[in-house]
């Protein structure tokens, strides 16, 4: 049961992020919620690779242990973090430009493109 705790946290974070995206009207808060969404997915990946009692998956540091945690999800997580960083930076800079052009960062008012 306790082994599944990370997945509950993942679920809670994921739902929190979705609620955050739909409930906030401030674009910055929406960007923060998107970041939380990314973090929850990263946590999901890392917890997938965990093996109880496992050691670090490095050939000469593993020690005596028979079991190692999986290295692939960690590599995936690192990649996903870098990508999420790039997207967050872009989102924030776009919000900056939105503010410059529209004078507001209320999501309901940034809607010149419609219909």
């Amino acid at each position: 049961m306790i082994g599944n705790a990370p997945f509950f946290v993942v679920g809670v974070l994921f739902m929190m992020a979705l609620v955050g995206i739909f409930m906030s009207r401030n674009l910055i808060k929406i960007a923060i919620a998107v970041t939380i969404l990314g973090s929850s997915v990263n946590l999901f990946l890392v917890s997938l690779g965990y093996r109880a009692g496992g050691s670090v998956p490095i050939h000469f540091l593993a020690g005596e242990g028979e079991v190692m945690v999986l290295p692939t999800p960690q590599a995936m997580t690192l990649t996903a973090i870098v990508i999420a960083l790039a997207v967050t930076a872009l989102l924030l800079s776009l919000i900056m430009h939105v503010w410059r052009h529209y004078g507001t960062i209320d999501v309901d008012e940034v809607r010149r493109l419609r219909g």
């Binding site: 998107v34 990508i83 872009l90 989102l91 776009l94 052009h101 493109l113």
Partner: protein
């Protein structure tokens, strides 16, 4: 050294090299940068063409990244592939060829189109990065790698849509796309995680060989189908698409059309090659068919009432993607039934894929022609245009060819693929074909409107000084026109040499798996 073996890696390496070379080349001035930009785009097109020829001649090509040998998919007695593998079958090569043509035409067009603006080293950089991301999505055989390439292409396209960042609408369109695309990508990553958690594998062929339908697999399938359908613009998740297509610089829009086809490719690959017959219930196939019908009808219904030229063509993208979804959905529905498959399933898949090729060509041409009009007149609203055919005869003729092709007027190529889709979807239920036919009629109606208001009619006084666009832009459009006319005049050649091998590769799940996992499957 056998170059053929390295073609898959070269296809990605060339545009990536160009992307990072662009700022360096800009130090040498405008000519050097433009020459590099064109050279890289053209070489990518050549590599895609040779890769396509090789795949048709020698079967599935694959390339192991970072292994002892590039053709060693299962090193040292491993039962499953552990490295990132690029797998190119006839479908991937077909899509890559289609994307490379669109990318080359867009690059050629952008030479003149963008020359009035600054920051072009970054433009060239992002453009080639977007090309690399798109080609990567089409040829990778690894589901996490697919996610990475989706993100590469998404990030490049956010930058390119907002390239004119002093225009509010461009920034707004880019922000909306960035938001929905990032959430969609996270769902794709969750799906990759679900599949990895179940099988400890990321290779699509390896997952496909072991797949048993369970809760996690169902969730992964739904997330992948939903996100990829959103990325190619299925109704009701299409709203970012007309915004983004209309506000991006036109050369980029031409490439974005091809990028949406890469997502469609991903959708087909996941449904047919990874899940295949194991997809079980008819729910997902019917869902894809419903997406197709809704996109077709509502997309074109929205297009009829638009009066911004690029936005109107953007809504037509939604409706055209519906045809491909309908074709693929019908094929997926009868995948497990050999008799129905032989009767109309293969026709549906062939029609869907051939339509994807046709669509990319004529839709890119339409966008380029709309961009040429914008370049010459500075206007996008159809209400302000009129009589342009006298001033811009070449653009008018190419626009006419493209709009006849998209409306499926005989004898143009759009009709051939639509005919295949009509007949095969009619075999499932007549209603599907009726919706497709009504959509075709409305498409024709709205392009009659565009052609009549923009190119015909009396001349407007404000447009007296309009000139035909410069030669590089005409050349970009001419490339696509030649392809459209070629597909039109030789429909049976292009069907049997272009679309049918791709369709056979798509439905041949064991072939796709066997190339990586060895013949014993």
């Amino acid at each position: 050294m056998n170059w053929n073996e390295h073609l898959p890696a070269l296809l990605l390496a060339l545009p990536l090299l160009g992307a990072f070379l662009a700022p360096l080349c800009s130090l040498g001035g405008k000519t050097v940068r433009n020459a590099m930009f064109m050279a890289i785009s053209f070489l990518t097109l050549l590599v895609a063409f040779f890769l396509w020829r090789t795949v048709l001649a020698e079967g599935i090509q694959y390339y192991v990244m970072g292994g002892e040998g590039s053709r060693l998919s299962l090193p040292s007695g491993m039962a499953v592939p552990v490295r990132i593998i690029l797998e190119v079958d006839a479908l991937s090569a077909f899509m890559a060829l289609c994307g490379a043509i669109a990318s080359f035409a867009g690059a050629l067009f952008s030479l003149n189109y963008m020359s009035r603006f600054t920051g072009l080293s970054r433009f060239a950089s992002l453009y080639l990065l977007l090309t690399a991301g798109m080609l990567g999505m089409m040829i990778t055989g690894d589901i996490f790698n697919f996610f990475v390439f989706i993100e590469v292409s998404s990030i490049a396209s956010f930058g390119l849509i907002a390239f004119w960042r002093d225009r509010p609408a461009a920034v707004e369109a880019s922000f909306k796309y960035a938001l929905i695309s990032q959430v969609g990508s996270m769902f794709i990553l969750v799906a990759a995680g679900c599949l990895y958690g179940r099988y400890n594998m990321l290779n699509m062929a390896a997952i496909g060989s072991a797949l048993q339908m369970g809760t996690m697999e169902k969730l992964a399938l739904v997330f992948l189908v939903g996100s990829l359908a959103m990325k190619c613009g299925a109704f009701p998740m299409h709203m970012w698409l007309p915004d983004g297509y209309a506000e991006a610089p036109t050369g980029v829009t031409c490439l974005l059309v091809a990028v949406s086809q890469a997502s469609l490719y991903g959708l087909a690959r996941v449904c047919f090659s990874v899940y295949g017959i194991a997809i079980g219930s008819a729910f997902i196939p019917w869902m894809i068919i419903v997406f197709g019908l809704a996109s077709m009808f509502f997309g074109v219904a929205m297009a009829v009432v638009q009066h911004d030229m690029k936005r109107l063509i953007g809504y037509h993208s939604v409706s055209q993607v519906g045809y491909m979804l309908l074709g693929l959905g019908v094929g997926l529905l009868v995948l497990g039934d050999p008799r129905a498959m032989a009767e109309f399933g293969m026709t549906a898949v062939t029609g869907g894929l051939f339509h994807a090729f046709n669509y990319t060509m004529y839709k890119a041409l339409l966008f380029l022609a709309a961009g040429a009009v914008y370049y010459a007149t500075g206007k996008r609203d159809l209400n302000d245009m009129g009589g342009l055919a006298r001033k811009m005869p070449y653009t008018a003729v190419m626009f006419l060819i493209a709009s006849a092709a998209i409306s499926g007027l005989p004898p143009f190529n759009g009709f051939v693929s639509k005919l295949l889709i009509y007949e095969s979807s009619f075999a499932v239920h007549p209603f599907l074909a009726v919706v497709a036919l009504v959509t075709s009629v409305l498409t024709l109606a709205s392009f009659v409107k565009v052609f009549q208001t923009a190119f015909l009619g009396p001349e407007k006084g404000v447009l007296a000084g309009v000139r035909e666009v410069p030669p590089a832009m005409l050349a970009g459009m001419a490339v696509l026109t030649v392809v459209v006319l070629g597909l039109t005049l030789f429909p049976s050649w292009s069907l049997s040499n272009v679309a049918e091998p791709a369709a056979r590769a798509l439905v041949d799940q064991s072939g796709y798996i066997g190339a990586i996992m060895g013949g014993g499957m």
